[in-house]
């Protein structure tokens, strides 16, 4: 079937976007629309001693000003964390309390102090500046490496030494033993640069309180409306679930940053009730930079040992992870179970030990962003491997091959059990695609033009579709990570697929429908996806962690199988045949080896008319599934990057980037390639351009696109993307997930290429022109000194 699994079906959601008819949250305007703006702390750390809203309230058109203490008084709950980590000494983590709006202490620049409601957006923003807040400024703790030092300013009174947890994974004795017997040890000090996700659609909320029905509706830029409703209901006490509908309409990118339920949505819902107005808030970009959860921000020391043959003997990691001022929803899982557990990479390593200390600082909360923990792990491992190859005088690809895992399932020393993969195949494919053999000639040609050309590898593995629920629960997760689906076959045979996943760029309206087209041979135009509305879909966990394919689509497949079983029963009954002989193909339901058949829509009609169903069968044709995988899925792959550096300015041009991925079974190659392009570009952004900078006092320096460098079209090349697939054995479709691989695997490939070009490994991300130029200068200085 041309619209089934593996087909490059053009996206069915495109038309509304390319004609300007998409419906994003900020496009929604209610009849009694009021607008919110937030008064925000200009200080990284301060005690709020007084809030005087009289001048703001005196402005014509200002509806209300409400503050944190009022919110607390009304019983609105504190913001929760979704994953409890246990320290290595067995003690539970300690973290500061996060009031949606400040009740006494402001702890980062942008912390919400008050919400201002006015008749227009401009007025709300102007009035917010007229709210006079008196602050008692306090010393701020900004740098994660300083947070643990004696005398560091304390971010929260109840978190001594700013230490949230001191976690470990692996076997320290085995790692020490491996390093002790190594003939070569490579050491590295890394900073994994702090990033801002930057979905181009800023966060937005429209909160509607219906006084007559005592009911709330929230339109929200959310990746997971059901999780939002659950949390808003169960923890923030906005309203019980049946009185709160959350709709995530078209959402303009998320990348993790729209998983979380932020103070603004809570405040808008609460303010809507208080003012009896519909309240809309849309972030300005500067607000996004201040308050969208940031990402990465690790300081790491790591050591990897090798024997004389180049085999890895041990690996030891020490990381300080910056969590920011408050612990956001998945902030604690990211630098632990999504990081330390990936420390084996694609390599067979006998002893691994990873210690992570998570700290509070007076900066915006840090949480999961495309890749979440896995990019940090991959960057560390892949830079170490490349550096080691250089230090050992070995070819970097050969050193990798010497250590590849080749037998599956493979139990790593750090919890995860890899189920499948063929790392040699990906490396072979990438090397061929990159014409590695021709590199020396290209390097010489570049040198003749005065350019330094370099090549860098990254062979990576990641873990997607976090699961099963019982396992993540035992590791501290507050939620299960299954996914639900419902398949409704209408009386006319058309099909609606309901999913708890949410599409904000991933093309689910196309790919999820391909599953039904594949299963029943029906035209894809007769299939529709329903998602993003808690009134329409019963429950689901949303879209992040590349889970929509391996988990969400698997749930759909399970539901489709149940529909298939019922269809076969109905058809067998009506066609007077055995169920085992019923074949569903090309939109027809027939009896194998005969000319007896029913059209697909006739079965649907039969199910609903219910005049002639098998004995005891309920009418209707609708089935649901809750799919809980038995394991993570493990996408892997190889990226090879080639760069040219201009030694005069330090500017880097990526002249080639190839990708050979193993995503398991691919539903729509066009969409998967698009995910790789986007992910790789975000990784290139991390490697070359992006960094959130706070100054010493905790002021955000990179508060707009004037200072935060987004990758633009001329920063990246066209990509060569191919696949080398081994199906995942842990879900019915064999899918591994493709959303994050690009962002996970690409930063080390880029940095390894640059360090190859400039001849020094002394380089941190982002490798801006200045950073590369300085690395070149110091390399020349140290060479001159030798």
């Amino acid at each position: 079937m041309s619209d089934g699994i593996g087909a490059r079906v053009k996206r069915r959601e495109d038309k509304r976007f390319i004609t300007g008819k998409g419906k994003y949250t900020d496009d929604i305007r209610m009849d009694n629309q009021a607008y919110a703006a937030f008064v925000r702390s200009p200080h990284a750390s301060a005690r709020v001693t007084n809030i005087d809203a009289s001048a703001a309230l005196a402005m014509e058109g200002v509806v209300a000003v409400h503050t944190g203490p009022e919110m607390k008084e009304d019983g609105i709950g504190d913001i929760i964390t979704g994953w409890a980590i246990t320290s290595k000494d067995g003690s539970p983590m300690t973290c500061g309390v996060w009031n949606p709006m400040v009740t006494e202490f402001a702890r980062y620049v942008g912390d919400a102090i008050a919400i201002v409601i006015a008749d227009t957006q401009d007025l709300a923003r102007i009035a917010a500046e007229a709210v006079e807040v008196t602050y008692e400024e306090l010393p701020a703790c900004v740098n994660p490496a300083d947070a643990l030092k004696d005398g560091a300013p304390q971010v929260h009174g109840n978190v001594p030494g700013n230490l949230i947890f001191d976690w470990e994974v692996g076997d320290e004795a085995a790692a020490d033993e491996g390093l002790a017997k190594a003939t070569h040890v490579t050491e590295i000090d890394l900073i994994n640069n702090r990033l801002s996700p930057n979905a181009i659609e800023p966060r937005s909320a429209v909160a509607i309180f219906d006084d007559a029905e005592d009911h709330y509706t929230l339109y929200s830029t959310s990746q997971n409306p059901h999780v939002a409703r659950l949390v808003l209901s169960a923890f923030y006490n906005v309203a019980p679930e049946h009185k709160l509908r959350v709709i995530a309409p078209d959402v303009g990118g998320g990348f993790g940053s729209k998983i979380y339920i932020y103070p603004e949505e809570i405040a808008c819902l609460w303010a809507s009730m208080k003012t009896k107005r519909s309240v809309k808030w849309t972030a300005q970009r500067t607000e996004s930079f201040m308050t969208d959860a940031h990402a990465r921000d690790h300081v790491t020391k790591a050591r990897m040992g090798f024997d004389a043959d180049g085999k890895i003997t041990g690996f030891k990691i020490d990381t300080i992870a910056n969590i920011g001022a408050y612990v956001s929803l998945f902030a604690t899982a990211t630098p632990t179970y999504l990081y330390g557990t990936l420390a084996s990479g694609v390599y067979d390593i006998p002893g691994i030990y990873c210690n992570v200390k998570a700290v509070h600082t007076n900066t915006a909360p840090v949480d999961a962003y495309r890749g979440a923990g896995r990019p940090e792990a991959t960057y560390m491992i892949e830079r170490l491997i490349e550096m080691s190859a250089r230090q050992l005088g070995m070819d970097p690809a050969e050193l990798r091959r010497k250590n590849f895992i080749r037998e599956f399932p493979y139990q790593t020393p750090v919890i995860l059990q890899y189920d499948s993969g063929d790392f040699d195949a990906c490396l072979d494919k990438a090397q061929a695609l990159a014409d590695v053999a021709g590199f020396p000639a290209r390097k010489a040609e570049a040198a003749a033009r005065g350019k330094l050309r370099g090549i860098g590898y990254s062979t990576f593995i990641e873990a997607c579709g976090i699961a099963p629920s019982a396992a993540v629960g035992s590791l501290g997760s507050a939620v299960g990570l299954w996914e639900s689906a419902e398949v409704r076959v209408n009386p006319v045979g058309t099909i609606e697929i309901l999913t708890g996943c949410h599409s904000h760029g991933q093309g689910h309206e196309t790919t999820f429908c391909q599953l039904a087209a594949e299963k029943f041979g029906v035209p894809i135009d007769n299939v529709k996806l329903v998602h993003g509305d808690t009134d329409a879909v019963q429950f689901g966990m949303g879209t992040y962690g590349s889970r929509s394919g391996p988990v969400g689509m698997s749930a759909v497949m399970k539901a489709l199988e149940k529909v298939e079983a019922k269809v076969k029963k109905i058809a067998a009954h009506q066609l007077e045949a055995s169920e085992d002989d019923i074949v569903i193909e090309g939109g027809e339901v027939s009896v194998a080896g005969t000319d007896k058949k029913m059209a697909w829509h006739e079965v649907g009609l039969a199910a609903y008319i219910a005049h002639n169903l098998p004995e005891g069968m309920e009418p209707g044709l609708k089935e649901g599934s809750f799919f809980d995988p038995v394991n993570f899925s493990f996408p892997s792959g190889c990226f090879i990057c080639e760069v040219e550096v201009d030694p005069d300015t330090g500017e880097t041009e990526i002249v080639q980037f190839v990708s050979a991925d193993d995503f398991g079974v691919i539903i729509n190659p066009m969409i998967v390639e698009g995910q790789v392009h986007g992910g790789v570009t975000q990784g290139i952004g991390q490697a070359l351009t992006e960094c959130v900078v706070y100054d010493e006092s905790g002021q955000l320096v990179t508060g707009s696109y004037m200072d935060y460098t987004m990758p633009r079209a001329d920063n990246v090349p066209s990509f060569k993307v191919e696949h080398s697939s081994t199906p995942s054995p842990t879900n019915p479709l064999g899918i591994k997930g493709c959303g994050e691989a690009g962002a996970i695997g690409s930063p080390p490939a880029v940095i390894n290429a640059i360090t190859d070009a400039i001849g020094t490994d002394n380089l941190q991300m982002p490798a801006t022109p200045q950073a590369v130029w300085m690395a070149l200068q110091s390399a020349q200085t140290s060479m001159a000194a030798e």
């Binding site: 996206r11 976007f17 979905a199 633009r712 079209a713």
Partner: protein, 156 residues
């Protein structure tokens, strides 16, 4: 408040508006043409690009009142019974994911093709990437946007 008359997508619209109303707000709030998007405060993301008198302009950085008498085309005004070749190319080449930057990308794409054709210059890949300096996309990595614009250029 000042009376302003702007022809948007071929239709004349007169409104009494505040002097400081941006063209983007005029389109989104007065005319409810919400295809024009706002993604930044500093005129850099390009999600708001429309055509004013045939030229690409950032509608978030123009006062509506200063455009009295102007002809404005937004993404909603491109399809004329059938999709504009640039719109069709974005679908054909998967040039969009979340769709938020897409209206600006399409308007900038058409503008660059028009200018290069008028000047007799070749719009190759490097030129397209350079011309997209004022449009930021976070989803696609630009790869398929560049392909779509190149393809549309051949068909326009």
């Amino acid at each position: 408040m000042t009376q302003v008359s702007i022809t948007v997508n071929g239709k004349a619209s007169s409104r009494d508006i505040p002097d400081t109303m941006l063209l983007s707000d005029f389109l989104r709030e007065e005319l409810r043409l919400t295809g024009t998007h706002i993604g930044c405060d500093t005129s850099q993301c390009g999600a708001c690009v429309v055509h004013v008198n045939g030229k690409a302009v950032k509608s978030c950085t123009a006062l509506a009142v200063s455009l009295d008498g102007a002809e404005v085309t937004t993404v909603e005004g491109l399809a004329n019974g059938e999709l504009h070749p640039m719109q069709a190319a974005f679908n054909e080449h998967h040039g969009l994911q979340c769709g938020f930057c897409t209206p600006g990308m399409i308007m900038s794409g058409i503008d660059m093709v028009n200018r290069y054709k008028a000047e007799g210059r070749t719009l190759d890949e490097a030129a397209i990437r350079h011309e997209l300096e004022g449009n930021i996309c976070r989803c696609t990595g630009y790869h398929n946007i560049v392909k779509a614009i190149g393809d549309a250029a051949a068909k326009m």
